[in-house]
Structure formats: structure tokens, C-alpha cells
């Protein structure tokens, strides 16, 4: 692998205690992701996809293993420092949107910048620009309950993008949407990926998963296939797979 990888994960292990049985959620994960890559992470429920996503998003810590984000080692960082790093580099898109119901679309999008202490005028401008870009220019002042599923997810994406993160982590972004809205959301995510953002999509949807250039499959806490790795390995060994 090259040193230019923005995410370097080595030897990740995580065990949860479920009842009396220890559950090995992640087993010896190795994963390097380069800037601008488009990855899908698939696998059955309980295979560790979400756990891995949360680790990459710095919401969770592995029991053992190293994680370098943009060249910075994250294992020894305090919670405060991890929050800073998350704010700076990472955008989350959730299956159930997680918008705050009392806040308007605009205020929801502003939220990450508000937490970062950006001045109201500046962040308001930026949020409304971004929402207009996503086709929600007429819905700025509406509350989540007044918006459709596709619109809600677009607000969610705008919120993830407003801090200009390097990585977009999407956990089943189309899971709660109908076919057409799902397609719209996928298009938006891929458009931003083409503009340079690293996109990691966790999904059950095979059609969505197949769209990614690099496809990872997980089973019982292990990455059982990685098209990127196979291609590289194949190149390395001069084998045409």
C-alpha cells in the first residue's frame, strides 16, 4: 500500500460481551483508504460493518490496533481531541436521518458549524447555499416533519458536508427511502465523491453496493473480500484476475 493513504487501519480487534458469550465483532482488520476513493461495505447483519464504520468515524475505539487518520495516530487521543478530529474530517449520513425535529432544515445544516463556533452570518450563508445546491432552496425554513424522506436525507447530507470533511460515512443512506428518492440521494453522494470526497457506504442493497469502485465484504468480523486489495495484489503479483 502507498503511504498516501488517508486512513490506515491495522490489526483492529473489538470484542463485545453479549450475555455470557464474548462476541468478536472485529477480527484483525487491515484497511487502507486513499483520498477520493468510493467504497461500499457489505455483509449480513452482525458482520461488523457498522462497528467498523463507527471506528473509522472515531465514535468507537478498538480493543487493539492502530488507526491513522490523515497521518495522525488516533489511539492515544483524548475524547476532546477525537471530537475535534471528527468535526474536522468526518461527515456522517444516517439511515434514519437523525435531524433535530425542533430545528428548521437550515438550522439542522448549520448545527455542525454552530458547534464549531462559526459566526451565524457566515454559516447561514453557507448552509443555504449548500441546501440550494441539493435542490432544497425553497425548503430552508421548514421543519423536518414538513419534508419528505428524500428531502430529509438531502438535509442530512448537507449537514454532513457543511464542514467540508474529507470522508463521508454513510450508513444505509437509502435504507428508509423509496426507489426514486434513493436514486437521487445516491446521485448526490456520488457527485460529491467525483469532486474528491472519500465516500464509504455501508449497505445491504446489492445494487447500491455494486456501484462503488471498491467493494468490501464482511462476515463475522472479518473482511472476506476487498476488490481494491485483490486488484492491487493481482497487479503486484502480475496476475490478471
Amino acid at each position: 500500500m502507498t503511504d498516501s493513504a488517508m486512513i490506515k487501519i491495522s490489526n483492529f480487534n473489538k470484542t463485545y460481551q453479549v450475555g455470557e458469550q464474548p462476541l468478536h465483532a472485529l477480527k484483525n482488520i487491515q484497511l487502507n483508504i486513499k483520498q477520493g476513493e468510493y467504497l461500499s461495505l457489505m455483509g449480513p447483519s452482525g458482520s461488523g460493518k457498522s462497528t467498523l464504520l463507527n471506528m473509522i468515524g472515531l465514535l468507537d475505539r478498538p480493543d487493539t490496533g492502530q488507526y491513522q487518520l490523515q497521518g495522525e495516530n488516533t489511539e492515544l487521543l483524548t475524547e476532546e481531541q477525537r471530537a475535534q478530529l471528527r468535526r474536522k474530517h468526518i461527515g456522517f449520513v444516517f439511515q434514519s436521518f437523525h435531524l433535530i425535529s425542533r430545528l428548521t432544515a437550515l438550522e439542522n445544516v448549520e448545527l455542525p458549524m454552530m458547534l464549531a463556533g462559526v459566526k451565524p452570518k457566515f454559516r447561514r450563508e453557507k448552509a443555504s447555499e449548500l441546501l440550494s445546491e441539493l435542490g432544497l432552496g425553497n425548503h430552508l425554513g421548514q421543519l423536518p416533519k414538513q419534508l419528505s424522506g428524500g428531502q430529509l436525507q438531502r438535509v442530512g447530507i448537507a449537514r454532513a458536508l457543511i464542514t467540508e470533511p474529507k470522508i463521508l460515512l454513510a450508513d444505509e443512506p437509502t435504507g428508509n427511502l423509496d426507489q426514486r428518492s434513493g436514486q437521487e440521494v445516491t446521485d448526490i453522494l456520488e457527485r460529491y465523491n467525483r469532486n474528491g470526497i472519500t465516500l464509504l457506504v455501508v449497505t445491504h442493497d446489492i445494487a447500491l453496493g455494486q456501484r462503488a469502485q471498491r467493494r468490501l465484504n464482511m462476515l463475522d468480523g472479518e473482511i472476506v473480500s476487498d476488490t481494491g486489495l485483490q486488484a492491487n495484489t493481482a497487479k503486484y503479483y502480475g496476475v490478471n484476475l
Partner: protein, 400 residues
């Protein structure tokens, strides 16, 4: 997150649960109001007394028989007396130049009766100077005779209530009253002035001091009131009074002299202490409001778990989440405190406007301490729930 954003964010969250926020607001407002209104009664009493004293003029000294040797304590109302103070002692004090009026006083209770009606009341034996010193005026009739100190004339001046009780609607002037075993002719009626320094002048009879000596069969004076020509003479006069009395009492100045200031400050100290303790009791309601804040904050934390998880995933640290919840309590507390202040001050203002006789005043120190306390309580009681919020696991919270 900057402070303005914090306030806005909290405000939006509070506005979401209108009824719940209104209840906390009410609890805090009630706590603040109870502190302010209860202390305002005490403060009102203090101002009332201060006003009463200033009505007397600041030129009065009170001479009591007996001397307490321990200094620094509150002035005694009754001294223990080895040697009586007499009318002659009072007379001797008139030789002091800086004194303008001297009123010897004998006080005691006796049964006063007019035919079948009778009452047990306080009888004051004194002279004309008493009226000047205490600013007493007559509504009808004439003053005590000028020779009250030498002759036991059988006359009396009575208060309005006593007159009404014993003579009903008839004029008491010129009528005979029986006090104890003697008969007195009513020559004057006091102007109704209400209570003055604990003496209800409406229900009292004033007779010449010499007559009182006979009535109570004792030469001992209850006290002597002195009025100075100018209040600056106070210190020098006290020295002189002691000198005159010690000459007359075999070298011993066995008297206690209380100045107006000493009395006023003693009263002040007592009332401020009482007011403060009333305020402290009222502060219990603020404490209860604090417990309500804690309860509601806990509910709020569990209801907003998903939001907390979201905020963390958006880059909020545990510290920032804690701040959000603490500031949310502070926001509601500010509104509650403000409501309490507005309410209490309005009540006092309205009472003042409609019933100027009722002395009410909110002391500045209780206003400050009520504000201070409500914020301290808000901080204290929101700390634990806020800590709980800070430790919410974002992954679990977002899973829903």
C-alpha cells in the same frame, strides 16, 4: 459553540416543551418571589421603626435606673436597680444647660373604670415635657398642669380607644374616671396616632407624675426622657447626667443612658437578623425548585439521547454536551428569576400605591442573594444530569 448560540439552542429546546418549561419557570419564580416578599415584610418593619424614631427627633436620651456593667450588649429595657431614680433626680437634670426638656415617667398597670365599665391598662405618670419629647398632641381638652412634678392633681388625659371603650359615644371631657383607688377628672383626649415604640397610646391614660407616685405608692421612676437642645451635645450631656446623678446617689452613677442611635441600631440588628432568617426559610422553596430542575433535566437527557448522540457524531465533545445541558438550566433559571423579580417588585409597588400605610420594601441584599442563589442552585442541580448526558454513548443513542 459560542454563548449566543448556546442560549439560542437551549431556548429552542425549552420552547419545545412549553408546559414543562413553564412549570420550572413557575417554581423558580415562586422561590425568588417568596424570598423577596417575605424579606420585604421584615425590611418594611425595619424602615417603619426607623421612621418612628426619626419622628421623635434625634435629640432624645433615655435614662434608666440601674447599670449593667457588661458593655457592648443590647441596651437593657429594664435595669436592675439598687437605688431608685426619683422625681427629684429628674428635677436636678434640668440644671444641665444642654437639656431642653426632662420628662420623668412612672408606668404601671391599673384598673380604670367608669361606672360599670372597666379596663386594665397602662397608666403613665409624667409631665408636660413628655408631650414635647414624644411629639404627642391633644385632640381636645387641655394639657397636664404645669406643676405635675410637685402636685398630685387628680386629672388625666386618655387615648381614643380608652375613651370609646369607657364612654361610648359621649364626650369624656370633664367626666370622672376611677383609676385604682382614686378618681381623676378627664381633661384631655390624645390625638389618635397609633402605636409608638411599643406603647399603644390609644389605650392609655396619662396622669401627673406626682399623682402616679401616689397611685402606685412608690417614688421610683420607670425612666426619664431627656431632650437635648442640639443633637451634637449628646456625648457631653451623657457625662453631665452621670455627674449630676452620682452627686445625688452617693457617688455612684447607677443609671443607664440610652441614646436614640444605640436603640435604633439595636432594633436594626435584631430585625435584619429576623429578616435574614425569614429569607433563609423562604429559600427552601428555591431549593425545591432546584430539585425540580434536576428531575426535569434527567427526563430531558433521556428524551434527548438521540440528539446527544447526533451532536457527538457532529463533533461535540463530552464537555460541550455537558455545557449544553447546564446552560439550558441557566436559561430557564434566568427567565424564572426575572419573572420572580418582576412579580415581587410589582406586588410591592401595587401595595405601596394602594395601601401606603403598609410598610413593605424589598431589601437590596435579598434581591442579590435570591438571584445568586437561584443560579447556584440551577448549576448545582443540573450538574449531575448534564454529566449523564455527557457520558451518553453516541453509537447506542443513534441506534435508537
Amino acid at each position: 459553540m459560542n454563548l449566543a448560540d448556546h442560549w439560542l439552542f437551549s431556548y429552542q429546546a425549552l420552547a419545545r416543551h412549553r408546559l414543562r418549561s413553564a412549570m420550572i419557570l413557575l417554581a423558580i419564580a415562586m422561590g425568588v418571589s417568596s424570598v423577596l416578599l417575605l424579606t420585604s415584610i421584615g425590611e418594611g418593619a425595619r424602615l417603619f421603626i426607623e421612621q418612628e424614631f426619626s419622628g421623635l427627633g434625634s435629640k432624645m436620651l433615655i435614662v434608666l435606673p440601674g447599670k449593667k456593667e457588661t458593655t457592648g450588649s443590647a441596651p437593657p429595657i429594664y435595669g436592675t436597680t439598687p437605688r431608685d431614680l426619683t422625681i427629684e433626680d429628674a428635677h436636678a437634670l434640668k440644671t444641665i444647660h444642654s437639656i431642653s426638656h426632662v420628662a420623668p415617667i412612672i408606668a404601671g398597670t391599673a384598673t380604670v373604670s367608669n361606672q360599670s365599665l372597666s379596663r386594665d391598662i397602662i397608666i403613665l405618670g409624667t409631665n408636660i415635657d413628655m408631650f414635647t419629647i414624644r411629639n404627642l398632641t391633644l385632640k381636645q381638652g387641655s394639657m397636664l398642669p404645669k406643676n405635675s412634678e410637685s402636685r398630685a392633681t387628680q386629672v388625666c388625659i386618655i387615648g381614643a380607644k380608652l375613651a370609646k371603650e369607657l364612654f361610648k359615644n359621649n364626650s369624656p371631657l370633664g367626666q370622672w374616671l376611677r383609676i385604682g383607688e382614686y378618681k381623676y377628672r378627664v381633661i384631655g383626649l390624645l390625638e389618635q396616632r397609633g402605636e409608638s415604640l411599643g406603647l399603644d397610646l390609644r389605650d392609655m391614660a396619662i396622669i401627673p407624675v406626682r399623682s402616679a407616685q401616689i397611685l402606685f405608692d412608690s417614688p421610683a421612676l420607670f425612666r426619664i426622657l431627656l431632650q437635648l437642645k442640639q443633637s451634637e451635645y449628646e456625648t457631653s450631656t451623657i457625662v453631665q447626667v452621670n455627674k449630676v446623678i452620682s452627686q445625688r446617689h452617693e457617688g455612684k452613677a447607677d443609671i443607664t443612658i440610652i441614646s436614640q442611635d444605640a436603640m435604633l441600631s439595636a432594633f436594626n440588628k435584631i430585625i435584619v437578623a429576623v429578616t435574614a432568617s425569614i429569607g433563609a426559610i423562604a429559600a427552601i422553596s428555591l431549593f425545591v425548585a432546584g430539585i425540580l430542575i434536576m428531575n426535569v433535566s434527567y427526563i430531558s437527557v433521556s428524551q434527548r439521547r438521540e440528539e446527544i448522540g447526533l451532536l457527538k457524531s457532529l463533533g461535540a465533545s463530552a464537555k460541550e454536551v455537558r455545557q449544553i445541558f447546564v446552560i439550558s438550566s441557566l436559561v430557564i433559571t434566568s427567565f424564572g428569576t426575572l419573572a420572580g423579580l418582576v412579580f415581587s417588585y410589582s406586588i410591592v409597588f401595587i401595595i405601596h400605591a394602594n395601601f401606603p400605610n403598609i410598610p413593605l420594601a424589598i431589601p437590596w441584599w435579598s434581591t442579590l442573594s435570591a438571584i445568586f442563589m437561584s443560579f447556584i442552585i440551577a448549576l448545582l442541580f443540573s450538574w449531575l444530569p448534564a454529566n449523564k448526558a455527557a457520558t451518553v454513548d453516541p453509537i447506542l443513542a443513534l441506534r435508537g
